[in-house]
C-alpha cells in the first residue's frame, strides 16, 4: 500500500515538473507552488490513522493514477445547461480547474472584478489583494489535499467585490469536469474578497459532462471584510464515479455576515471541509447543508466554526438522507476561544436513514474556553416515522409516495431557506425524483 501511494505521488510529481517546464506561471506563484509540492510530498494524502480521516479512507483515491488536467485548448462545451437562470448575466465557467473567458458571461458584473486567478496574481492592479489572501486561510502546511491543490494552482477564479458595492445578480461559478480523458484530476481554486460593506450572492456549482472516474480537488478561500455580507450556495453534483475533495475557508470581519448552504449530492467519495473563522466582533454566520447519498456513495462533511472574538453568532443545520448502503460522516467542531464572550452558537445535525444498510457517523463537538456564552448542539439519526407514514396512508397516499413525501419534508428545512428559486426547484426535483408528481 505504501509503495502504491508513493507511486501516485510520483505521478503528481511528474505532472508538476511538466507544468513547471512548459508553462510556468509568475515567479511569486511558482515559489508558492514549489513549496506546496514539497509539502504534499511530505504529507501525502490524509490516511485513516489521522483522527480527522477516521471514517473516510482515501486509499482508493491515492492508489489511482490520476493525471492532472492541463489548460483545455478551444474546447466546445455546452456549459449553459448548468447555469441557473438567475445568474444568466453573471456566470463564470471553470473547465477542469481552468477559467474559461469564452464560456463565461460577465455583463451583469460591471462593478465586480471577476477574472482568472492567475491574471489577478500577475496584474499590478490586483496582485496585492490576491497575494495577501491566496493560500492564507486554506493553508497547505498541515493539509495534503490543500497542498496538492496549491501545487497545481495555474488558474481559477478571482472574485473581488469592491467596497460598498451591492451586487444584485447572484454570481455563479461553475466548476466543470469535462471528458478530456478518463482518470483526470482537476484543482479548481476560488478566491473571493468582499470588501467593506459590500454584499453579494455566490453560487458554486460542481458538475460534470460525463460519467467517468475523475478527481476534483477544490479549494475556495473567502474573505469577508467589515460590514460585508455574502450569501453562498455550494452545489456538489459530480458524477457518480467521481472523487471529490473540497475545502472552503472563510474569515469574517467585524459585523459581517456569511450565510452558506452546501448541498452534496454527487461523487462516489466526497469530502467537504468547511471552516469559518469569526475573528472580529459582531460577525454572524449560518453554515448549513444537506447531503444525499445512495448506494456506493460515501460523503463526509467536516466543519469548524471558530469563535475567536466576542459577540459573534453562528448557526448550523446539516441534514443527511442516506439510502442503500450509503455512508456519511458529519463532524462539526465549534470552538469558543478564551475571551469570546457573548458567543451564541447553535449546531444541529440530523440524519434520515432510508435503508437498514445505510450508516452515518456523526460527531458534533463543542470546545468552550469562555464562560458567558450560549451554545447548544445536537445530533440525531432516525428512520421515517411510522405514525407519519400511516397518517399519509390514511389519506389515500400509497406508502411509496408517502416515503418520498416524508423524505422531501425532511430535506425541506434546509431547502426552503435557499433564496434562489431555480436551485430550490432543482433540489426538490432531485429529492422527489421517484415522486411522479410536481408539488408546486
Amino acid at each position: 500500500m505504501v509503495t502504491e501511494i508513493a507511486k501516485t505521488e510520483n505521478n503528481y510529481q511528474a505532472a508538476f515538473r511538466a507544468v513547471r517546464a512548459s508553462s510556468p506561471t509568475v515567479p511569486w506563484l511558482e515559489l508558492v507552488r514549489g513549496s506546496a509540492m514539497e509539502r504534499f510530498e511530505q504529507l501525502g494524502f490524509p490516511a485513516v490513522h489521522n483522527e480527522e480521516w477516521k471514517y473516510t479512507n482515501l486509499a482508493p483515491l491515492a492508489k489511482q493514477e490520476f493525471v492532472p488536467a492541463t489548460r483545455p485548448a478551444g474546447v466546445v462545451i455546452d456549459a449553459e445547461r448548468f447555469v441557473f437562470p438567475e445568474t444568466a448575466t453573471a456566470h463564470l465557467v471553470v473547465v477542469n480547474g481552468f477559467f474559461s473567458e469564452e464560456l463565461s458571461v460577465k455583463t451583469g458584473l460591471e462593478n465586480v472584478i471577476a477574472i482568472d486567478l492567475l491574471s489577478a496574481v500577475a496584474d499590478a492592479r490586483y496582485n496585492k489583494v490576491a497575494r495577501s489572501y491566496l493560500a492564507r486561510n486554506a493553508g497547505y502546511h498541515n493539509n495534503g489535499l490543500s497542498a496538492l491543490n496549491t501545487a497545481f494552482l495555474q488558474s481559477g477564479v478571482f472574485l473581488w467585490i469592491p467596497r460598498n458595492v451591492k451586487v444584485e445578480t447572484p454570481i455563479q461559478v461553475t466548476f466543470l469536469a469535462d471528458a478530456g480523458r478518463a482518470d483526470s484530476a482537476a484543482f479548481p481554486r476560488l478566491l473571493v474578497v468582499a470588501e467593506e460593506n459590500s454584499s453579494a450572492t455566490l453560487i458554486e456549482n460542481f458538475v460534470s459532462t460525463h460519467d467517468q472516474q475523475y478527481f476534483t480537488n477544490a479549494v475556495a478561500e473567502i474573505v469577508i471584510k467589515d460590514g460585508a455580507r455574502l450569501e453562498h450556495y455550494r452545489m456538489q453534483r459530480e458524477s457518480s464515479k467521481a472523487f471529490h475533495t473540497s475545502i472552503t475557508s472563510a474569515e469574517l470581519g467585524r459585523n459581517s455576515s456569511y450565510d452558506t448552504t452546501s448541498i452534496n449530492l454527487g461523487g462516489r467519495l466526497s469530502r467537504h471541509d468547511i471552516s469559518v473563522v469569526l475573528d472580529h466582533e459582531g460577525a454572524e454566520c449560518w453554515v448549513d447543508g444537506l447531503y444525499l447519498a445512495g448506494s456506493d456513495q460515501h460523503t463526509d462533511t467536516h466543519s469548524v466554526i471558530d469563535h475567536q472574538q466576542p459577540h459573534c453568532n453562528s448557526h448550523q443545520l446539516y441534514k443527511g438522507i442516506l439510502d442503500g448502503n450509503a455512508r456519511a460522516v458529519f463532524n462539526g467542531k465549534i470552538f469558543v476561544r478564551e475571551g469570546a464572550q457573548k458567543t451564541d452558537a447553535m449546531q444541529t445535525n440530523k440524519n434520515l436513514l432510508l435503508s437498514p444498510q445505510a450508516r452515518v457517523d456523526t460527531k458534533p463537538q463543542l470546545e468552550i474556553y469562555a464562560d458567558d456564552v450560549k451554545c447548544a448542539h445536537g445530533a440525531a439519526v432516525g428512520q421515517l416515522d411510522q405514525e407519519e407514514l400511516f397518517y399519509l396512508q390514511a389519506r389515500g397516499i400509497n406508502p411509496e409516495l408517502g416515503r418520498s413525501l416524508l423524505t422531501y419534508g425532511f430535506a425541506e428545512e434546509v431547502i426552503e431557506k435557499i433564496k434562489i428559486d431555480s436551485i430550490r426547484a432543482q433540489l426538490d426535483e432531485v429529492v422527489l425524483r421517484q415522486l411522479n408528481t410536481q408539488l408546486e
Binding site: E388, Y391, G396, L406, E440
Partner: protein
Amino acid sequence: MLEIRNLHAAINGNEILKGINLTVKKGEIHAIMGPNGSGKSTLAKVLAGHPQYEVTAGEVIYEGKNLLELAPDERAREGVFMAFQYPIEIPGVSNAQFLRLAYNEKRKHLGEEELDPLEFKDLLKERAKVVEMDASFMTRSVNEGFSGGEKKRNEILQMAVLEPKLAVLDETDSGLDIDALRVVAGGVNQLLTPDNAIIVVTHYQRLLNYIVPDYVHVLAGGRIAREGGKELALELESKGYDWITNPNVAGSANLNAAS
C-alpha cells in the same frame, strides 16, 4: 355500508376489542361513547388499517368488500376516512401539497383527471369555507405548530376535500372552543349526504346537539355494552357509565374497562 361482526383486535398481544358488532347504513349517523381506554380509538384505527393492531377474529364488510384485506391507503381511496384523535405533524410538507396529493390519489383511483396546483387551489379555497379555515394554514406544514383546535379543524378540512363515504371522527370535538365546535360540527353536517355515513366518537353530549346521531353505542371493556337512540347520550350525561359497566354495584367506581 359497513358491517362489523364479532371484531376482536389486539395491540402488542393485549386484546383490546373483544367482539364488536356494528352495522352502519347509508345516511346514518352513529355515535360511539364510552369510558377512557374502552377501545374507541382502537376501533377507529382498526377500521383505518393501522399496522400496529392485529385483528384476531371477526370481519368487517365495507361496501360488499372485506375491508380488513385492504391496505390503509386503499381503504382511504375507497372512501373510508378517519379523523385522528391526535393528528400527526408532517414537517416540511405544506397542507396544500399534502391535500392535493391525497386528493389526486383518489382521483386516479376513480379514473379521473388529476388536478394541477392551480386548479386544486380553487377547489381548496371552496372546501376551506366549510370549516372556515384561513388560507394561511394552507402554506404551513401539515399540523406543524397548529394548536389543538386547529389540528381538529384541519382534520375536517381533509374530510371536506376527500369527501369520504364513511367518516369516523375520533373525538374531533375535544380541543375545539365553543365557537369552533359550532363551525366544525356545522361543516360535518354540510358534508353529510344520503349516500354517506358518519361515526362520531365523543365523550360529550354538546357535540351531539349539533351532529344528531341516529344511534348511540356505548363501548366498555372492548364490547358494545349498550345501544340506543340519541336519548342514550343524554342519559349517560346525567348518570355516567357505571350503571352500564357495572350494573349490579350502583355507584361503584370499580371500573375496569380494559380487563
